[in-house]
Symmetry: C2
Subunit: 496 residues, 2 copies
Amino acid sequence: MAKDKKARRPKAETPKGFRDYFGADVTERKAMLDTIAEVYHRYGFDPLESSGVETLDALGKYLPDVDRPHAGVFAWQEDDGDWLALRYDLTAPLARVAAQFRNDLPSPYRRYAMGPVWRNEKPGPGRFRQFYQCDADTVGAASVAADAEICAMLADTLEAVGIPRGDYIVRVNNRKVLNGVMEVAGVLDPADPDKHEHERGIVLRAIDKLDRLGEYGVRALLGEGRRDESGDFTEGAGLSDEQAEVVMGFMAAKRENGEATCTRLRELVAHSTIGSEGVTELETIAALLAAQGYGPERIELDPSVVRGLGYYTGPVYEAELTFEILDEKGRPRQFGSVAGGGRYDDLVKRFTGQAVPATGVSIGVDRLLAALREKGRAGATLQGPVIVTVMDRDRMADYQKMVGELRAAGIRAEVYLGNPKNFGNQLKYADKRNSPAAIIQGSDEAERGVVQIKDLVLGAKIAESASLEEWKSQPAQFEVPRADLVTELSSLLEKY
Amino acid sequence: MAKDKKARRPKAETPKGFRDYFGADVTERKAMLDTIAEVYHRYGFDPLESSGVETLDALGKYLPDVDRPHAGVFAWQEDDGDWLALRYDLTAPLARVAAQFRNDLPSPYRRYAMGPVWRNEKPGPGRFRQFYQCDADTVGAASVAADAEICAMLADTLEAVGIPRGDYIVRVNNRKVLNGVMEVAGVLDPADPDKHEHERGIVLRAIDKLDRLGEYGVRALLGEGRRDESGDFTEGAGLSDEQAEVVMGFMAAKRENGEATCTRLRELVAHSTIGSEGVTELETIAALLAAQGYGPERIELDPSVVRGLGYYTGPVYEAELTFEILDEKGRPRQFGSVAGGGRYDDLVKRFTGQAVPATGVSIGVDRLLAALREKGRAGATLQGPVIVTVMDRDRMADYQKMVGELRAAGIRAEVYLGNPKNFGNQLKYADKRNSPAAIIQGSDEAERGVVQIKDLVLGAKIAESASLEEWKSQPAQFEVPRADLVTELSSLLEKY
């Protein structure tokens, strides 16, 4: 029987690809999200918190992995036959909300949302199946002023959380320009927009991989296809050399400033109505941003930005951090993208049949937090509590009274609640908790009406580096009258 | 084809039992949780955020609904055969974390956690399938000082969020005393603890329903069973009259103060070792709380508290709000329970085989928030943004510049981004957003270098109640030099 019981013991493990966040990991993320929410709020965005669960139907098939619809989602069937699923982003739920509450919400509807999303993907190093997103979207605004504003807000947000100007760039492009290029290259026929859709999808994803594959790799994907180092073959778009050159020319269209870039783009899409419209939108965005003082050192036009998602219909944008870090092999590389978004005018239409213009950005919370740690703007350890040690188990009420006074004075403090027998364990516990001080009162001290304050910060410094002289001149433990405990400890903590 | 497409349009609906939170609902809950986290932090608790998904195995069968294990959980099977599930509370994940990281975590481990949990239950009015919990637990502390501390923290927390002293009571009991009573009543045999387990479960749940069913209903459940108004029959514990009287006597054991209650309890469990131990623990808790100044007006001993969950092994506690509200039929009733918890020494053992003492509390976030709204301590509408209206579509850059200046001065503001053609719609939008002011600059004002500030708060008041004289003396719209926009608007907003 006993053996049988043991065999049924569950494993204490997170499911594969999931993780726990402890202490400072939680508070740091929270502090960053609070700062972001402040910026979003100042820009007039209101919070929305939808539930983690949606009907599978409402979520739709908008994951980047278009080859496996519904793969990538955690879904299950209810007893009544309905399929439910965990949201994989915050945009699909917004589209559902915008449709469901379209008669009640203000229009335009500006909302921000922060929270976990889930992806049923193969986990890998640094790739988790639950992670945070932090989005801001404007639904119901057709004007590209809405796109320009979100780019400005993105720049402000990065600076507010601690990325200095010069260490980031927001890059803007327009899908309409890309469609113009496709038209010129002969893979988009305005009279039959569904034709060549498959090829265009491949072209889109190929351009999006420019950073990772380089020009040569992208060129291969535009043509016959590409075999990677592992031997896996990725299907190409089958473009002719001439067609591929048009696309490659587009990606290289960036010039010394926005005006020159637009001039070059206009040449490339000269014969495409949609393409010309896209260039005009880019010019408008640049002008609106310039009026508010966002120059190309913060927000620039860049034709190589396409964003992988299929649903974008107009301006697309992303924020890249430009400072260098060392990769896992010790080589320097740019930190890279931390946020992206664009205009998607068809997501709400899925529900209502009516086109609703919308644009928005999503910040990769974990990536941005990692960047802040790189820049030394996050990563502090949590300030531990003052530990009131237990010298005499029977005097627990006295120790609780002490800790009550400390807390009433706003000092983070606790009584040691483990087995008090071994005093060394109490100090080890204080050390593990990163405690600034320990309070000690044995029966002798109690009789004399005093307590000992042990300065653990100084103690650690002395243990680490100080000479005997310093040790003597700066005692890491001192006695104070019991009545002065709060004031004496407060002035000690002010030092740290 | 078109018809076919229409038929496949997804419904814009939250799944049954789920809901969305908008605007102030989100910020109010956040403000409350931030305040709670401050109190928990001051008490030495560290944050933990585990993922929403756990292995079904790790979650275990600890839902109150013991008759349908695994019913009540959203679960699905992965391709590799593993069963995953959404967490139904924050205690089961803590037990898993405490087991998984037992060699790294400090001991005792004090953690708090806040976040959504999911229950696959039949939704009803006010009953949702996703809701927030907010827990604090101490793992690895055998001393009832840990229980006392959590009761004190619960009282502090309620006052911190805005429940005045006198409007709440934390009630404490001990499962060991209840076990003593069970022993005296003959449904617990210390030599064979598994015997009568089914009956004890029924007794436990019956006592827990005292509030709802009254003494008569509980008495019926202790005996033959109970048929409710709808005709449904609930099985009883089958106790004899004599046995049932022992249990009923226990529930009525509360006396004028803690000391007298303990004296009465000692009489009831006189011949039970475990029962006497429980009474001693209650005395210790009362003494520790008294030493910190928590008298019975905040925390009292109350034998009728049992908490429904099967896993509690020692002290149990709950916070009840004692002020009256009107129920859906307009009858006054006490607001009732908003938090509860207790000692559970066996949850970590499930994983490791080693008993780990633990105790903790869970706050029902939505219930507490509803209580704050009742007390007028929450429920404010979100302050809307200042709306810069668009009089002249071609001058969007000017309007964006204005709004940029306002934001830089810390003023929540936005340019109207809908179709600007109908000016009335712009003011309706401002109204819907609860905007304090609108900024207006047509070409005439632009030429003269001025802007109009429309005071929407005053405007609304005038529209509502003021006489013609007041209207004239306090113009709700006034002109200021463009250069003074920020300062003039700032001083206006200071009034609100």
